[in-house]
Symmetry: C2
Subunit: 512 residues, 2 copies
Amino acid sequence: MTLTPRIASAVGPVVALDADSVVPLYEQLYQGLRTAIVDGRLRRGARMPGTRMLADDLGISRNTATLAYDQLSAEGYLERRQRGGTFVARVLPDRLLLTRRVAPPLVVAREQVSARALSGRGAALAGIPLPSSVNTRVAPRPFRPGVPALDEFPVALWSRLSAKYWRRLDRRALAYGHSAGHQPLREAIAQHLAVARGVRCTSEQVIIVGGSQQALDLTTRLLLDPGDAVWLEDPGYLGARAAFTAAEARIVPVPVDEEGIVVAAGERLAPDARMVFVSPAHQHPLGAVMSVARRHALLRWAHRADAWIIEDDYDSEIRYRGRPQPALQGVDADDRVIYVGTFSKTLFPALRLGYVVVPTRLAEAFQTARLVADRHSSVVEQAVLAEFIAGGHYARHLRRMRALYAERQEALLDAARSQLGGLLDVQPTDAGMDVVAWLPAGVDDRAVQRAAHDVGVEARPLSPFSQAPLARGALLLNFAGYEPGALRSAMKLLAVVVSTAVQAAELLSAVG
Amino acid sequence: MTLTPRIASAVGPVVALDADSVVPLYEQLYQGLRTAIVDGRLRRGARMPGTRMLADDLGISRNTATLAYDQLSAEGYLERRQRGGTFVARVLPDRLLLTRRVAPPLVVAREQVSARALSGRGAALAGIPLPSSVNTRVAPRPFRPGVPALDEFPVALWSRLSAKYWRRLDRRALAYGHSAGHQPLREAIAQHLAVARGVRCTSEQVIIVGGSQQALDLTTRLLLDPGDAVWLEDPGYLGARAAFTAAEARIVPVPVDEEGIVVAAGERLAPDARMVFVSPAHQHPLGAVMSVARRHALLRWAHRADAWIIEDDYDSEIRYRGRPQPALQGVDADDRVIYVGTFSKTLFPALRLGYVVVPTRLAEAFQTARLVADRHSSVVEQAVLAEFIAGGHYARHLRRMRALYAERQEALLDAARSQLGGLLDVQPTDAGMDVVAWLPAGVDDRAVQRAAHDVGVEARPLSPFSQAPLARGALLLNFAGYEPGALRSAMKLLAVVVSTAVQAAELLSAVG
């Protein structure tokens, strides 16, 4: 009991638990302690209270406290000493600060380690670092990427189409569907892609998947063996890096410039790579459109190396200026492009529908892989989407969103100029839903993210997308998903955070 | 042109193409030719017409004919000779007759084989044999397994819940959801399983998946390395065999008897296996309920070997007599059971929702694996299902189905007795949706399947489920999914097929 004051001062005030939250208490406790350790409120090497005391202090069960400690120990934030006692780790590896977690959180305590832990492959899979905005239960808020204008989605129309589906239902459609997808949807997509993106395919080449992530997962499982070299744009898409990591491929980061992936660099680094991942229409995250010369260089290399090309065309249809380049898939005469698209950006992410267009001779393999992975996507949603496209609503929605997003981009750029002129270098984008906002040299984009998070603003740093160190930090800011008023309010908060960080960096460099 | 008569007689009459079908023409042609080769209408070694002639003859494009030939060649039904010409293969390996295909169908022609084919892992995945009723576009018909009473599903109620969801929608729910699943659904499932199945878990241990197949896929990816030994019930579930094959595990078939898996046999064959797949509540496909003694033996072995147990509880809630045994998961004190369940049998397969209950320390790994595989399931369907369960509709539907299926089982048993008494040995089942109908000795269940298929009846043979040769052939007949009238009509047709097969077998044994 004499220790109570120390506990209360050490932990009580740093962790606010909300018994009514959907987040489990142990998770809240874990996150609160982790944040306090990372930002130094609990200092390195400090002794932590015992679980019983902590539990009494916070009014929670001891089991909850133990769970949180176990997880923090497994992840390296806490250390248990032989002679009893739990301490904040003295050394927090840098990478611990960047990701939700890096080690499989399964090793409950060292003495319980057994063959029952994950397999080697499983540890690679479970250890994939996740961006902090993934799997959060916090609703989207500026400037979280990946979120379209949910406020403008035609919910009433979609709901009507859904009701119509159920009303006219042929009950046989409740049985297992086809692993390649609902045929009318495959046809609608093939037609749309031919017109909108210059993709050359029949509906048999279109495999419906549960979003682009599943397209990447199936593609890497079918076409890569462990150890195979793959080119990945650097900075590049984290979802692709995750799929390659899960497939145990050897990832070769290849730089990008204003023309897209630097093919010559890839040829130097790994001339015999088996696959390359590119986003030619709008490089993720930097935004370059791949030049015609670079497209041809890439196709020529792939032909020589007999390599596969994954073309992720995730947001090419959201375009504000200029004619879009047709997809690489339509130019490739060589059947080596796996074309990936999704409705998460053009409709809404919770739908979980996307597609992959594959060479004809791979279609059956993809179908089998899908069957073994999870059989197929929900038939109702596929049927409603097919109606939505065939009825012309999809094309109409895209046109509306282009106009809306152009306005929202203007609002964000205006706010950035007026609030942060000179501090944040934001270039307008011709396509997509985000802009890249470069920070002054010496300002750590991850530190800005953490500080922004504390004031309720999501500012995704560019560093985690990059495997080579970046010359300057930057933030990826989504304008599409938020009303102009919300963008302006968030920009005001971000301005405070960024100017504070700039001042701190200047102080530091003056001292250094 | 002089060859036209031969072509017409060789191929024209054996393949009926339907230009209005949803099945692509090339697929129709491929299937028609394959059937004709398998059943001998196109004899072994016969010369096939050239693609141009075949195309002219059938009024299709040459490309369509070439595609069908390519696929048949890749699968070994046709052979291309160096000096030109395509022939029916002289040797059709037995296994070709049993499965939709066994070889990756990608190798378009030998001279085009290149590094661009599937990876080694991909070939294993794409080469998984599929039962013939999978990915067919033919609507369910007696006695196809895996189909519940779609005619009795409360479509109007489901549609109302769905409309209500859209009406009350919080638009933030259109964003990305949580990879572990929609929280209200996880809670509803945890509660239901505690009461109905004696499963001991919190909602944090419940991971929502796109059906039980995805549960198996994620589990094997996380917990197995290539080459790891796994016990699989023999005969056993093909979906589990597929997941193990995709994970490149070493499958050890372990026999089952009337008490379930023979643990002692498993211990002899592979004492140090890393995982075992069982269906204790209702062994698939034979139907045994695992005895208490066997359950304890299994848990004891798993403890000694430090092995994982996958418990597939796919249809335990459809029970006609007796108290169900609680799930193995609830008895295991050792946190080594991965409990898998699905709504495909209790509601409808097109929904694509299931769940896996995992030990707490694995929950985050499963969540990450799901995120990397395909992020999460459709949020709308999860929310509607959560409402359906929480509103008591799920429990009510299960009760209705139990009564209905009991009647339908009676109808099937009556029809079998009156039509096939003495020829087909059908034992009633206490649980589930299918009965096993044993054929007289010497009658090949696969031959019966093919003959039944020709008269529009689906009679799934038992042999493909078994890796050891079966003493007798049998058919797996689903009664739950079909009205009594349809069951009786199909049984009449099956009676003709089976008696013909029995006569043929008797003739053959008299000759031999």
